[in-house]
Amino acid sequence: MYGSTNITEEDARRMNVSDEEPEKLLAFEDRIARGEKIEPGDWMPKEYRRQLLRMIEQHAHSEIVGALPEGTWITRAPNFRRKLALIAKVQDEIGHGQLLYSAAETLGKTREQMLEDLLNGKSKYSNVFNYPAKTWADIAVIGFLVDGAAIVNQVINSKGSYGPYCRALERICYEESFHLKQGHDNVVYLATGTKHQRAILQDAINRWYRPLLHFFGPPDKMSAHSEKLMKWKVKLASNDDMRNQFLDQYVPKILELDITFPDPNLRKNNDGIWEFSDPDWEEFKRVINGGGPCNAERLEVRRYAEEAGRWVRQALLNPQEKYQVPLA
């Protein structure tokens, strides 16, 4: 699962290719225009490498952090069918993380460095995972709508220019589409179930509505553009286009279950564009910068996993390193 790459103003300014050799740059851009894939050993502009690495790394982090809110419900899933489906799903997400870290490593940064940057806050992950999964209905909504949003994003990105990332995404999309089916099935059971089940589903939809709108990043008129990234097929669709595609596909599927969205202004206009109330982009920024309800908790769990598991990794990698008995 993953949200859109958010290009900041500063990033856009840094997109400078003036020190690249013009012939090489031209040949590189021609290859992309012809629809060829760029492979790890190929020449690429420094900015291409930097932006791709950042994007794939964020995506990988999103997978492993995204496993946390759902992971805590594996032990609580209400029957065998849901339990087996959920554990398989969360395992898939970790597997996607592993696949994506490998894809990112082809650009010259190790998994260890990436995990370190996750913990020290240098690199980000999707905002959507900084919200809590409060009830079982959240698991249904995450499985259906967050995975649904991720698929919109990832199917588009799988048409990008970097070979290893595209191949990873193709496999990921295949698995995500399975999660989507399980998520939909779960949502339908709750929507057609008892009063209590409908109530927790409605409550979950109410809480996830805004984070889902945030998922694709700020509106185009607010975000820094980069023609270059579009030309290099690092970014393939605008945030607004992806968001619109998502709303178009999923809003009707929720409404037909007689479940509502907490937004009186949500509607599709005659031109096919969805309209909605301002989902508070200030909140989006706050959460990205660490102020969301679960940012601290998510990183704390990752930090625990990193630290508690250090002796295992060290014993496998550098068994000769001496063990220092802690002083206290």
Partner: protein
């Protein structure tokens, strides 16, 4: 065939699988490396799948309640898992040691059951042992790697082994039907299983630079098979049934 003897065997195996599956699944997302998240999560899936398959035999063949009822609606005292599987995951060394010790026993148990006179169980055992083989491969490999890894990893495994030993021996607590199970060719019995298990794990532990602790009979943790459990099972079951209990009549 003595139905009560078969039921008792199926219940304890299913409950072991469900509870160890629950514990192993707790590693999803927090393992020492992503590969271990994946390994523990895969193993957990298989275990929960085995539990479901065993409860399904109990339901379909022996007239017991639906598997979801058996897994999610029984009281603590009706569970027949050994106390070893109930223990919290602790640190990775404890969980890995348990995975190694438990799954070696589990593979031998299922191998023996492929020849069971109770055909539904023999059929399941033939399928499941192919999966458990990989669990054992995981446990054996990591024992050897970490036992021969760093000073710290060796020390941690030795201490995990010492702390686990008498709990692990509790896996082989005899049931009241041992004689019937053996006589009717349903299962070769816990004593035979324990003997084979010791033969199997001893060379692996030696290769892992680990010493087998001395067994003190009076310290072996029994009781689980008769419904007497550690303080950890009730909270585990409460967690497992948290969602179901919010609406008992609902279909989930």
């Amino acid at each position: 065939m003595n139905n009560n003897a078969v039921k008792e065997l199926l219940y304890k195996m299913a409950d072991d699988a469900l509870i160890i599956g629950h514990r192993n699944s707790e590693w999803t997302g927090i393992g020492p490396m992503l590969e271990e998240d994946l390994a523990f999560s895969s193993i957990a899936q298989d275990k929960i799948g085995h539990a479901l398959a065993l409860y399904t035999i109990l339901h379909d063949v022996l007239g017991e309640p639906h598997p979801d009822q058996l897994g999610f609606m029984r009281k603590e005292k009706d569970f027949h898992c050994c106390q070893y599987v109930e223990q919290p995951i602790g640190e990775y060394d404890f969980s890995l040691m348990r995975q190694f010790l438990f799954d070696n026993a589990e593979l031998l148990r299922y191998e023996a059951l492929t020849r069971s006179s109770f055909e539904p169980l023999a059929q399941l055992a033939r399928k499941a042992k192919g999966e458990i083989k990989y669990h054992v491969m995981h446990g054996d490999t990591f024992m050897k790697q970490l036992g021969n890894g760093s000073e710290e990893s060796q020390a941690r495994l030795q201490s995990a082994l010492n702390n686990s030993w008498h709990l692990a021996l509790g896996i082989f607590e005899n049931s009241e039907f041992e004689k019937e199970l053996i006589q009717e060719g349903i299962f070769t019995g816990e004593e035979e299983l324990k003997r084979k298990w010791l033969e199997k794990i001893t060379p692996t532990l030696e290769a892992a630079n680990l010493k087998l602790p001395a067994t003190e009979e009076n310290k072996i943790v029994y009781g689980g098979r008769k419904g007497s459990h550690s303080e950890f099972l009730t909270p585990l079951l409460n967690e497992m049934t948290e969602v179901v209990r919010t609406d008992i009549d609902a279909e989930w």
